[in-house]
């Protein structure tokens, strides 16, 4: 029982990290129809900014997160304006080519300026303590991550289901031409959605740094994982992404506990099974 609880809580934390990072990618892929393989690169940039802010500028954890999100969005604006806008509506493979190119560039430049070593983002005292939760100790940070994930899921749900922006966004996604005709400024909706997606990547990159450490190859190393999670959830669906992250987080964590030697087999076999059962992902939109 103790072991099951313990595994469950680890799976939950890992799943939530995946969720925070991937939900942004799910939005760009599902809503804007851009296969943005450079998504992880933005999470990585945020990690570097946060690490720089915390270690070299001496800012606190919260301030570092804030600065990282803002900084990453600022960096993404010219990229959206000059690169991404040209590939909205392009064939998927063209988008793949360009975003891979962008990822390569980000890696090369990061490597040059920040060096190839691991960067850490020091946690505040409160989060770095192991916390005794009765049946085991757990890093307070993990609970924080779970809370962050829940907050992101709730916030996004509210934004999309309960605000005027959400209405415009859903309308634009269902029928861009019609929304345009009805006076929705779809370009602006796209730009804001892109910024939100990048902001979420940034948040995920920083709070997830304990799981996925920040180094230049971050952007490539986890590209596949992110892509798989988004597809399994169904691009564009928040609950879908949440379910996918939790299920895959659970499969991964349990697999690694029960049969660590075959951890990857479990994960990818689960992916194949899910994709065959739900060809559009758990909650993907019909084409």
């Amino acid at each position: 029982m103790q072991t099951i609880l313990s595994i469950a809580i680890d799976a939950l934390a890992f799943g939530m990290v995946l969720f925070i990072i991937c939900i942004g990618l799910s939005l760009t892929m599902g809503l804007m129809r851009v296969v943005n393989l450079a998504h992880g690169a933005f999470a990585m940039i945020a990690g570097y900014i946060a690490s720089y802010a915390a270690r070299d500028l001496g800012l606190g954890y919260a301030a570092s997160i804030f600065l990282a999100i803002i900084g990453t969005i600022v960096i993404s604006i010219p990229l959206e304006r000059f690169l991404y806008r040209r590939i909205y509506g392009s064939p998927e493979l063209t988008q793949v080519l360009m975003t891979i190119g962008l990822t390569f560039c980000v890696i090369g430049i990061t490597n040059y300026f920040m060096g190839p070593t691991l960067k850490i983002i020091p946690l505040p005292e409160a989060l770095s303590q192991p916390l005794d939760v009765g049946f085991r100790t757990i890093a307070a940070h993990r609970l924080f991550v779970i809370a962050c994930g829940a907050a992101v899921a709730g916030g996004l749900w509210y934004l999309i289901e309960r605000t005027t922006f959400g209405i415009k966004l859903r309308a634009t996604v269902d029928n861009a031409a019609m929304s345009d005709a009805l006076g929705v400024r779809t370009q602006v909706v796209y730009a804001i959605s892109f910024a939100i997606a990048i902001g979420l990547a940034a948040l995920g990159g920083v709070v997830g740094a304990e799981f996925l450490p920040i180094e230049p190859y971050y952007a490539l190393r986890y590209m596949v994982t992110f892509l798989v999670v988004v597809s399994v959830g169904g691009a564009g669906s928040i609950p879908g992404a949440l379910i996918a992250c939790l299920v895959l987080g659970f499969v991964d964590t349990t697999g690694r506990y029960l049969m660590p030697d075959f951890g990857n087999f479990f994960f990818y076999a689960a992916v194949i099974l899910i994709v065959c059962l739900f060809p559009r992902g758990f909650l993907g939109r019909a084409q």
Binding site: L93, T94, M98, C105, V224, S231, N264
Partner: protein, 333 residues
């Protein structure tokens, strides 16, 4: 009506002939480039052989992506199946190079059958993810079966006997390169026939609109599966060539990275033309080689910049650029 049909057949002849001439010229050009590579870079034959092996992989991706519209990021599973099959056969005493290539092609085709059978159950993004999952499983399997594959240490100690009992696979790599080049040409010619066959036309149709193809009374799944098998044989040939020429097989040959790189080369060169696959491979690998020798520490940024530049300047790949230039020339009075 009878007269019209007559006129039709008469006019069909020069059309077919001009195609034949164009293909002959293309194949002559490829042979010339291959020979030029041999004479101009006699010291880089190992690299050139590697380009040939990867070109086979890229061609095989073109068959499924460019001609059938099935997106895959897992083609290295088929390349690796060919490489490991040839490698394991060689370690177990089958050392005749052409036999090894044939074994690789068969193993690749079998892996293609398996992969197609799974991947064709889904569409679009889900299909892409299936391909990734499959190549990762192959990778894991190769890592786990280290008794046969050497695992992460690689399968080393392939002693390939001389080609036709005459030509050794030596340090200078002449035999390997020339054998690879001839293989590439043969495969290329064979694929030219494949894509020009009714089957090839059917695939092009499926890529554009499977519903229309079904309304024509043709099944889609078996056609795509067949193409997967052909594609697997081509990729397996490439893998076997890599194994024979380098005498070692590593886990990288079944990696996601190799699959992704090869897809990037294809998109770079241009989808749906066999020439695009070759051009993309040569440009990407050549560029990578030159830049990484020139500055091994920062070539990644430059390769990335190249990819972005190509998307901005020639979204349809480099071959589309050639088409554009030709079109603008024709447009001039």
């Amino acid at each position: 009506m009878h007269i019209m049909a007559q006129a039709g057949t008469v006019s069909a002849m020069p059309d077919a002939k001009s195609h034949l001439w164009r293909d002959a010229a293309g194949i002559a050009l490829i042979s010339a480039c291959g020979a030029a590579g041999y004479w101009l870079f006699p010291d880089n034959l190992a690299l050139l052989t590697r380009i040939v092996a990867v070109a086979l992989l890229v061609l095989s991706i073109d068959l499924v992506v460019g001609y059938c519209g099935v997106a895959t990021l897992g083609q290295a599973a088929l390349f690796g199946a060919g490489a490991y099959a040839a490698g394991i056969a060689c370690v177990n005493g089958v050392t005749e190079p052409m036999t090894l290539i044939a074994i690789g092609a068969i193993a690749g085709a079998a892996a293609g059958l398996l992969m197609g059978g799974v991947m064709l159950r889904a569409h679009g993004l889900a299909q892409l993810v299936l391909s990734i999952a499959i190549v990762q499983l192959f990778h894991e399997a190769a890592n786990k079966a280290s008794a046969y594959t050497g695992g992460s240490d690689g399968l080393a100690g392939l002693m390939v006997s001389p080609l036709f009992g005459l030509f050794e696979f030596d340090l200078w790599g002449r035999t390997a390169y020339l054998m690879g080049l001839v293989l590439l040409l043969l495969v290329f010619i064979a694929l030219k026939f494949v894509v020009a066959s009714p089957f090839g036309m059917l695939c092009r149709g499926i890529k554009q609109d499977p519903v229309r193809i079904r309304a024509m009374g043709a099944f889609v799944f078996p056609v795509l599966l067949k193409m997967f098998v052909i594609s697997g044989a081509v990729a397996g040939t490439g893998g076997a060539l890599a194994a024979v020429s380098t005498q070692v097989v590593g886990l990288d040959s079944v990696s996601f990275e190799l699959s992704a790189n090869a897809l990037v080369m294809l998109v770079l060169g241009g989808l749906g033309t066999l020439y695009g696959a070759l051009i993309g491979t040569v440009i990407f690998m050549g560029f990578e080689h030159v830049v990484s020798a020139f500055n091994p520490f920062h070539w990644m940024t430059m390769v990335g910049a190249l990819l972005i530049a190509v998307v901005l300047a020639a979204p349809g790949g480099l071959t589309s650029l050639v088409g554009k230039v030709a079109a603008s020339r024709q447009g001039k009075p």
